[in-house]
Amino acid sequence: MNAVRSVAGAVFRETVRDRVFYNLVLFAVLLVAASILIGQLTAGQDVKIIKDLGLAATSLFGLFISIFVGIHLVSKEVDRRSVYPLLAKPVRRSELIVGKYAGLLLTLLANITVMTVAIYAVLFFLARGIPANVQGAWDAPAMDPALLEAIALIYLNLAVVTALAVFFSTYSSPMLSAAFTIGVYVAGQFSADLKRLDVIVDSAAAAALAKACYYVLPDFAKFDIKLAVVHGLPVSGAYMLSTAAYAAMYIAALLFGAVLIFSRRDFK
């Protein structure tokens, strides 16, 4: 556990010091600020637009960090040979993988926290001075705590994507790992459609294959409750819990696979 904590701390420090990380945060904050301008062009819709844009930016920039930092977590250590002195320390290869993963989750948490504060700050300044009767007509209040539910699921979504990036990077190059991760992410957005492919496809084999893909691919659509939250629709606690359990199961399986591959790897 000590090794996992130490490795995670090192990853957090490295990513926080990385200028790319600051650029992403800055860019996201600028995007949230830009949403104010857009909001002013669409009378009465500004709160919704800011929530929409803010959540989309949080998800998008988190995704960039998950994929492009995630694919380098392990491969950079191997390519630059810093893994040699590291694995000569009392660190199991499994601890290295889990520690790297936990470190990036910590970075994502810091990133998402900054973005959440930025979104709420923008919403706070926007709602200030608007009469209560006008606010009452909105689908959801400006400072809606339900936004946190959407952000929590965005975080879980990013945790699964990071696990995918780490898994692929244990055996393929960063370029291929990025391609695989993005490919699975995009396919995972439509995995629910795969389950119902038999409705539009005659071939039983194709339908069976699509169904098999549905069970293997992560269903990323599950994590997207932005629309519901922005329109003030309730999201049940049971849904949040089942989605969290789904993410945990998927992450565990991916990390198990990553450890299995990494533990057998020769560092020539």
Binding site: R5, S6, R17, Y84, P85, L86, A88, R264, F267
Partner: protein, 318 residues
């Protein structure tokens, strides 16, 4: 007494080729033993299998067959790594960390308490001659300084057994002297040192025992002085301002005498040529002694001869 390091028939095959991978034997049935407290030189030319052996001992690669033990435990035992240090060849660390932070990170991995880290990290950096640079990012370090950082991380945990892959690589003469001094200091403290090198003089200055590998196979092992290849094959005496009659007297006992500068001569004596007598005679006649060196076959010569003797079958498909 148990060996500090032991390998038994340790072999490693890599697979080369993309479409039709075929095995390539990087190390072939290596069996060596290193006693505790010994400085052991693992010698061989580039590509002989030295780094592969060290990687096998560190479990960075896994053996195709055979066994490796460190301090009586299998090399893969994670617990044993608290008691060893390892310097890889041309070490590379993290660009964004400083030397202090790197050792802090590794200290945590060793499970050192904070108080111990606070005491040990500056002491280790001082010992390796890393001064104010310790607070600079490692990306700004020269190759020689990175080598020093590599050595610092290898000795941070006060290891019982130290594995050094080409420790003199990239160091200037001052750095080489410091590393030699460090290794001798560690030897005097009873530590076992296993180091690889392709430079014979490093081994001569430090080792009690050596193993020579060539083409993945053990070519010779034992005390350096006992290895026939490294027995003295003659003496080279360099003198200046030698009176002509003294030079003529010595010429009769020399294999040859060469003039290298206006009044500088190289006198090549046979192994039983008693250089001390020659030096005494020449200096008594007014000559100035520049140097006396034993002539030995170089490691490179030995490698080439051993490799030729092994023939082409020594390396390749297992």
């Amino acid at each position: 007494m148990n060996a500090a390091i032991r390998t038994r028939d340790l072999s490693k095959d890599y697979h080369v080729g993309f479409w039709r991978p075929r095995p390539y034997r990087a190390l072939d049935r290596l069996s060596i033993e290193v006693a505790p407290g010994e400085v052991f030189g693992f010698l061989g030319p580039n590509g002989a299998g030295k780094t592969t052996t060290l990687k096998l001992l560190m479990q960075l690669v896994f053996p195709t067959s055979g066994e490796a033990e460190i301090l009586g435990r299998p090399a893969g035992d994670v617990a044993i790594r608290r008691r060893i240090g390892y310097l890889p060849e041309n070490p590379y660390f993290y660009d964004h960390l400083t030397a202090e932070e790197l050792l802090e990170y590794y200290g945590r991995l060793f499970g050192m308490p904070a108080a111990e880290r606070r005491q040990r990290i500056p002491a280790t950096l001082d010992r390796l001659g890393i001064g104010a640079e310790r607070r600079l990012a490692l990306r700004k370090f020269s190759k020689g300084m990175l080598q020093r950082v590599g050595l610092a991380q290898a000795v941070l945990n006060d290891p019982e057994v130290l594995f050094l892959d080409e420790p003199m690589s990239g160091l200037d003469p001052l750095g080489r002297r410091d590393v030699r001094a460090l290794m001798l200091e560690l030897r005097d403290q009873g530590r076992t040192i296993f180091f690889s090198s392709h430079i014979l003089s490093d081994a001569e200055a430090l080792c009690s025992n050596v193993a020579i590998v060539a083409k993945g196979r053990l070519a010779a092992a034992g005390r350096l002085t006992d290895l026939q290849e490294f027995a003295i094959q003659g003496w080279e005496v360099v003198v200046a301002a030698v009176p002509a009659e003294a030079l003529e007297r010595v010429r009769a006992r020399a294999r040859r005498v060469l003039t290298v500068a206006a009044d500088h001569y190289v006198i090549d004596l046979p192994p039983d040529g008693r250089p001390e007598d020659v030096v005494r005679e020449l200096t008594a006649a007014g000559a100035r002694l520049i140097s006396v060196n034993p002539l030995r076959e170089t490691l490179e010569d030995v490698f080439l001869r051993r490799v030729a003797a092994m023939g082409d079958g020594a390396r390749g498909t297992p």
